[in-house]
């Protein structure tokens, strides 16, 4: 079915090496998320798999078969684009039918699949509208519908939620996860948003400058980040890093503590500092603590009800067993 293997794949644009030699295996039915900051090569990687770009060297195998030189259409993959890429001059029905029309699927079969997809995606009432008459979320669903009807070996998503507003994004996130559970088809999902990565993925691939920094389940990455980059990238708010004496005392160049692993108190603790901005979310409050002598600022997650004000003195205590230690190169110790 949809097992995708990248074997020593590289990509360069002229002199610029975007993807250094890279190996990766995506198992059938997995939900894999490529995550990383912009320019890390995650979209390029997806486009290489899609066949929209040629690899400079290396091999891409889909379901054991060499697909390196196959045209995009012949790879049996479906893609959902960031801009949805709907055909503006076609109705929703025709948009969804287009890949089947190209593949020469018989009319009645086309109709059956369109109706099925429309029902699953709540699009039945909109089939005769043009994309321009739909909301962002509906367009997104049309794009997904167009992908589903092809019954592909794998779905590729290129930052599909980044054009939606926050509330809709959460909803669509759930829908896509739901879809994955139901279809059990391989999905490769590119995003720069680590929250999407954490909530949706079976397996996360963290990329930086074309290199794979770490591959693992969301919790593996959260608990045992392999280096400072992954540690800083996964988790929100960001992990605090402390260098200098405090780190040296623990035999490391730098130590990292997540905001949720620091206890705050107005009376006593290991570290102390002055409260800067306090972001009240209701359930939690994120405190930005200055003048600790450890780092410019430490972020701490405290209970939403803790009564602190700007300028208050505060004491902090890290959970010793949740401290991450890194060497000078940033590797985990």
């Amino acid at each position: 079915m949809g097992r995708i293997t990248l074997d020593q794949v590289t990509k360069s644009f002229g002199e610029v090496n975007v993807i250094p030699p890279l190996d990766l295996t995506i198992e059938d039915g997995e939900f894999v998320v490529f995550v990383g900051p912009s320019g890390c090569g995650k979209s390029t990687l997806l486009r290489l798999i899609a066949g929209l770009e040629d690899v400079s060297s290396g091999q891409i195998r889909i379901d054991g078969e060499d697909a390196t030189d196959k045209r995009p259409a012949d790879r049996g993959l479906a893609m959902v684009f960031q801009s949805y890429a709907l055909y503006p001059h076609m109705s929703v029905r025709k948009n969804i039918a287009f890949p089947m029309k190209m593949a020469g699927v018989p009319e009645d079969e086309q109709k059956r699949r369109i109706d099925g997809a429309a029902a699953a995606l709540n699009l039945t009432d909109y089939l005769d509208r043009r994309p321009g008459q739909l909301s962002g979320g509906q367009r997104q669903r049309v794009a997904i519908g167009r992908a589903i009807v092809r019954e592909p070996q794998a779905f590729l998503f290129d930052e599909p939620l980044s054009n939606l507003d926050a509330a809709l994004r959460v909803g669509m996130r759930l829908e896509i996860s739901e879809l994955h559970k139901r279809l059990a088809t391989t999905m490769i999902y590119v995003t720069h948003d680590q929250v999407e990565a954490m909530t949706m993925a079976d397996k996360i691939v963290v990329l930086r400058a074309g290199y794979i920094e770490q591959v693992g389940t969301p919790l593996e990455l959260y608990r045992t980040p392999r280096n400072r980059f992954v540690a800083g990238f996964i988790g929100s708010p960001r992990m605090n890093f402390i260098e200098g004496e405090t780190a040296a005392a623990k035999g490391a160049f730098a130590v990292g503590v997540r905001p949720e692993h620091i206890a705050a108190s107005t009376e006593s603790g290991t570290w102390q500092g002055k409260v800067g901005v306090a972001e009240h979310l209701g359930s939690d409050t994120f405190l930005h603590v200055h003048d600790t002598g450890l780092a410019d600022v430490l972020t701490v997650r405290v209970d939403g009800e803790l009564p602190v004000r700007h300028g208050d003195r505060i004491f902090l205590t890290p959970e010793e067993d949740k401290i991450h230690r890194f060497d000078a190169e940033g590797h985990r110790l």
Partner: protein, 334 residues
Amino acid sequence: MATQHSRAAARLMISPAVLLLLGWMLIPLAMTIYFSFLRYNLLMPGMEEFTGWTNYRFFLTDPAFKAALINTLLLVGGVLLITSVGGVLLALLLDQPFWGQGVVRIMVIAPFFVMPTVSALVWKNMFMNPVNGLFGHFAQSLGLAPFDFLSQAPLASIIGIVSWQWLPFATLILLTALQSLDQEQLEAAEMDGAGPLSRFFYIMLPHLARAITVVILIQTIFLLSIFAEIFVTTSGGPGTASTNLTFLIFLETPAALRRGHGLGRGRGRDHPGQHRRDLPDADDRQEPGRVRMTRGAANRPQIRSARADRTGAPPAAAHASGGRIWRKMKVGEE
């Protein structure tokens, strides 16, 4: 977006256009350059001889060449200046709210649709003709002597006609560009204390820069090869006063060729070896039609009748003989 498949496809897709244009450019150009080194005589095939740079020397030292070069620059520059400045002003005016915008827009765009031969004929006869033209009537009603535009100020008159044709183009592009300007920018500038003039120079004009560039580029392409307007009005005269490069080369083209394919209206070098300015007789021939038409052709003796030979053979008949009566392309012989 670029795989080997798509790049190969792209090369394939662009090649017909490139090959056609390359052929269109190179083949005639090569032939022209080849001829330019020859003393070429179609009446006596096989008699071509290589003349080196003679033709070039002749052409470049011809005083008409310098005049035509200057005229070309004046024509292109003058029209560009009038249409871009006029276009900006007109666009600023039409961008204001007023009643009947649609109708005015339609009126302003109209000259762009008029073919050059028509506009040149209309301006020449109905407006600039000193006797029957509207300007003439107007001058007379004021008790002034009518001004013969095309003989007194031929180049300026042609610049005027061509500007009339191209002003709509400039205006519409600039108006569209102006309408695309973000109003918030203007409002921000106003909040910052910029008066109307400052807003124009610091906000609007920079915004229009790209559109003005396009206006200048497109118009230059078309203005460099202005032909019909001169052909129909002054035929380049008086003397070389309104001959641009295009028209000069046209004049140097063998007359038989031009007459041969129905274009015999042009004044050409019917007599090999004799430059047209050496031919006062032929040039000053007046045709009956013109005399009657202007009722005073005598007052514009310098305008040589460009159409002296037109009334001769009708175009279609002349066409048959076109290839055969190819005379001499002996620009170099004097």
